[in-house]
Point group: C5
Chain length 326, copies 5
């Protein structure tokens, strides 16, 4: 589906143009065309491939989707795969991460973005770009930057929510009987974290090629901006690694808490078992049928025996209490 | 066993040719010969070695098989070892991964592929190559690409099935009493994953030498295609690492679930033990033989004692239920 | 909030100058201006940006704070983000680490430091710089060094206290019943360690660019000093890794101790259970109602049975004691 | 002990020569001398050092032995340390790995090998070298290759046996009550694996310097052969890492099986305890001495009580059986 | 404290000289001065700094001590920090590792060593250097080598003792009831290993700069000797990593043994509980007060009941013995 198709000149929007005129505008110097597609049909993509003379392999990638983030040079043009991540409510009410895909073809005077499986579009990016005319003069390179920047900025709230989740588990981790829910949360956290990691790390590697050293032609002059995006990705990367590290330790600690709890249960079991078993033994003794058991004839034999049971149990109870078994 | 032996010129099939004529066709410019062998005898391989002037060490490797994927230059020719992976049903009904081997000798105007221990051949590759004439004009380099691409593409469904297996375990991981089967699945998964990893990682390293920087002569002009294969291998690699990471965490989590379950069993044991032990104590007390036990003469002594036992047990039961031990 | 704004010439303080005169002093050769801000308003920062012609992206970073340590070149000027760490008492009496931020803009003849969320300022650094005139002649590069050096020096006592904490746990680790508090301390330690690590490692990477090889203009001639800071950061890094490694092992060991303790509790439970159960069995036997039980008529039947119980229990006790179960 | 001392010319054996004539033959062009020593005395080694003008540090290494594999250049000569590994039967019947050492001095026209603590010699290597005259023309470089190749080839059966050992454990790993022997095997496996790893990895690093890039003079022209050895070492390395990885997982899995087993024992204990405790309670109740217990007078009171006990126990047994506790 | 101050010329000792004359001798070509200090006062160090024109930052490091091993170039001079490790008896009789420090300043014609916190000095190094005149002609570079070599050689016996400790644990690791002492030994071993690692690794990195590639002026011509030291450090490094790896596995295995032991205790508990509980049940049954219990009147009722108890118990005992629970 065609979202928009606009020609720009000298940092200024010229006009919305029909798809057929693209190749014409592309020939003009200082002019570039920015086309946005959403889940295009095979025909739409083929048409674009022809207008912009896109490389067959890149078009194949854009058609099939399900790539990992990457950045490839085809001659003077670039092909970038970005993966926006969005939070969605799953059918069972839990929050899931949805990994979309944006394929961006960038040439000297065109940008073509193809969006798959994402709810949020890039109209905000276009609006920003049209506002910042000075930067828009950099042409397609700036648009690429603005798209990547926008995708990366949307990772931060996702990562923040994972950090919050870790903190929530950390507050519960030494609480008794929270082990099962903690371990479920930690595993869930890990799964989401890995999703994010597999999106951030390859993108960081890709963006690293867009500043310093040899830089693709279309991105020249935007070095400081791409470095800024790279820096954001590095922060995301470092935070992910940090959460991952703590999460690993938290699972270990949780295992320790489970085992500690087991010990405490065993102690309780042992303590109460003793408290019941000892009077049972005494009762057993006074249930013996020897003829010659003088206690049987004592007037207070019975209450005394009960008192003995109670006394011993109280002693045991305080003893177990003192050694923290009960 | 000779599968086929075909000469091509300018991207077009010339003819099936007899083995003896190979050296003749190889001399013609713009012409190249593509030979496919399946588990060749020593003599067949020796004959090829002579026709194509293959290096002794490479022929040794192709003869013995059991290599890991690699890519070696011998002067202007290349020797590549690929390892296709196929799913087979083992005798006991379980699914196993079968690692085959394809040794490919590539020279300026010949390609010799030697296939071992695989069920699926490369006739589809040959058909595709003959269809894509423009690309086939690149000669032996394109054939090498097509072979590698085909082997790599077959890894994806295998990896997908491992991902599915992990997801199946993940759904079971917090279910009670599933620990034994989970841990067996996870170990099995790990074994298959390692098989795939040992096939993908060296191939990725090898293919990385075929684009960018200095590239072997026969692969020149195919850079973007080899980069595409490399990109596929990177995706396989990243997915393998991702599964591996989750699988490690899953084993840890499973260990936690086993220990949690142990605690729950201990709690149940303790609870029911108390429920049986307390009335046993009461019965013991009223089995004592003191002369002077007034309760013995109460009309309702017996039912009252039973009622006491029952009452205490109900109390215990609800208490244990409340603290989630029962 | 403006803390100070001073012009220096040839290693000597010229005067406190008003903000409006900055651009004037900056033009003079051999003269440089050092401005310190604390949590500036948007307007204050904008004014500085104009006076010093700072790059928009760097100003954005300084405005939003919450960066990780880094060092970026913008043309001939540098932008450094430092993160001082301070110990504070949390509301609940525990000690927490507070990560502040200092953004430093360095040009040929100016230094602008912007401090966020820290209690301790840098007046000591300014005092030292004004004392060491020879070094201050190096201009803004020396001031950058002095600021970084001061921030890094403050990490050492923090790290020392973490080392002390580890040692405290190590002394408790083989003590019985200390497992819960040990594991809490170890987790807390890990959290603080990660905080420090995320501050030290990126700074180390950043400072590594300031000596050897190509060095930014403003830092030329200070190589040995920046190498010294780098060396300090390496020591911090190595110590952090060392503590981390021991801490991981300590958690594993702690898990072992918990399980050992569980075994000891089970042994105690088993031992005492036997000591109670055996006389209970004997009492049970002599509570049987067979007509023909000769012991019942023995004069010393009862005391003998008690003696047997006691004797067996003593035997059991010493046996369990010998095998270290009791 | 001198094993052999032979002069070669143009790939052909000239003669066994006495040690004193070595320096004479070494001077002849196209001629080289190959000397083999086995655990030489100090004097033997000193004599060789003089004849071949060996570097003091290398001779020191050869004298003391106990090195790790390495390859060092001393001017135009090479000093290589190889470590053959052999399986031996230890005194207690178990199989141990014996790490020997072969120090090889290689110059333009000499090879001196010094063998320590190995049972198998290199006569097979010499025989092979004398057969392959074409290759032997490469002189000392080929001899070095042949020696390394022979040592590396002997690693494969050792590693195969470790792989077999892992597979043996894997077959036992989910079998009940095999945990102790599994864990012992896994630890033993790890120890042997590390022995092999410490021999393979440094050698791989060393051999990597003998092909591609700048290569020592004496090895020039043998690049493809050294690359072949390197490839073998890479396969060994990859297999070792693979076994190691699986072995780590196997230990974790084993720990899980131990804990699972513990849970199963606890369940059995709980089940049988209930089956014994419930009739004990019933018997206790009918051992009470209340005057007014109508059941006592029932004709079938006794058999009915026994029947109740049996019935409840059967019920319990099937219940526990159903929930898989028994 | 000044230990010695000697001038050398052409590999020969000239004379012990007073500190004041140092600057004079330093000016002579072919002459160099070697000064050794032990825990010098501030004044002593300042005097040296002046005589040798040492860099302020290096002197600061030497004054404060507590550095990690490193090697820094200051113009044409070198500053090296070495850390000798010594075994000492701690107050409580255990062996501890004492990490000392030796700071070495090396210039074209001087060597100044400053020793802190070590018991063993370097007189042996001086003696060796004076013996090996040929090497001493290399001047200060050789002295640096001799000092580093001596420090590194002293690491070997320390590491050997750690290896022995690991082997001692390995022999105990599968022995029952050794878990607590094993885990204590393993933790202790890890601590010492990390101490050694933090001394060896940075030194290895530092020495790696003294051979191959660009080498500091004063070390030129000593390449093969520094490579030899590097090789020793690599062996130390590899051995440390090897011990560390085995130690990690040993802790895991130990955890497995603890859990196995727990299971064995639980099995014993269950077995004996059954052996006691079953006759207790029988005695309970024959303690019931039903009027109509024919067994009560059997002449051999009592001995038969005892026989039944004994018989069942024997059966149980052999059963439990067979399944290895007892």
């Amino acid at each position: 589906m065609l979202i928009s198709c606009v020609a720009y000149e000298n940092g200024k929007k010229l006009a919305d143009i029909p798809v057929e005129d693209i190749s014409e505008y592309v020939k003009r110097p200082d002019c570039f065309v920015w086309v946005a597609l959403f889940e295009p049909t095979r025909e739409e993509l083929d048409e674009m491939a022809e207008e912009f003379e896109l490389h067959e392999l890149a078009v194949d990638d854009a058609r099939s989707g399900h790539q990992r983030p990457k950045l490839e040079e085809y001659g003077n043009s670039l092909f970038a795969v970005l993966q926006p991540v969005e939070k969605i409510k799953a059918a069972d009410g839990t929050e899931e991460l949805l990994v979309g895909e944006v394929d961006v073809f960038v040439g000297d005077n065109y940008v073509l973005s193809v969006r798959h499986r994402t709810q949020v579009g890039f109209s905000a990016v276009r609006a920003r770009a049209e506002r910042e005319r000075e930067l828009l003069k950099n042409g397609s390179g700036f648009v690429l930057y603005a798209l990547i920047d926008s995708v990366v900025d949307r990772y931060f709230p996702i990562l923040d929510s994972l950090e919050t989740q870790l903190e929530a588990v950390e507050e519960q981790i030494f609480v008794r009987n929270a082990a099962r829910s903690n371990i479920e949360s930690l595993y869930e956290l890990k799964r989401k974290l890995m999703t994010l990691k597999h999106v951030v790390d390859p993108l960081m590697e890709a963006v690293g090629k867009l500043y310093g050293g040899r830089v693709p032609q279309v991105c020249a002059g935007m070095s400081e901006y791409f470095r800024d995006v790279f820096d954001h990705l590095q922060r995301l990367h470092a935070t992910i690694e940090g959460i991952r590290d703590m999460q690993t330790t938290a699972i270990q600690v949780n295992l320790g808490m489970i085992n500690l709890n087991e010990t405490e249960v065993t102690k309780k079991l042992a303590g109460w078992a003793a408290i019941i078993a000892v009077p049972t033994l005494i009762a057993g003794i006074y249930g013996m049928n020897f003829k010659n058991m003088p206690e049987y004839d004592f007037t207070y034999g019975y209450p005394l025996s009960l008192a003995a049971m109670l006394g011993i149990d109280l002693g045991l109870y305080f003893w177990f209490h003192k050694i923290k078994w009960l």
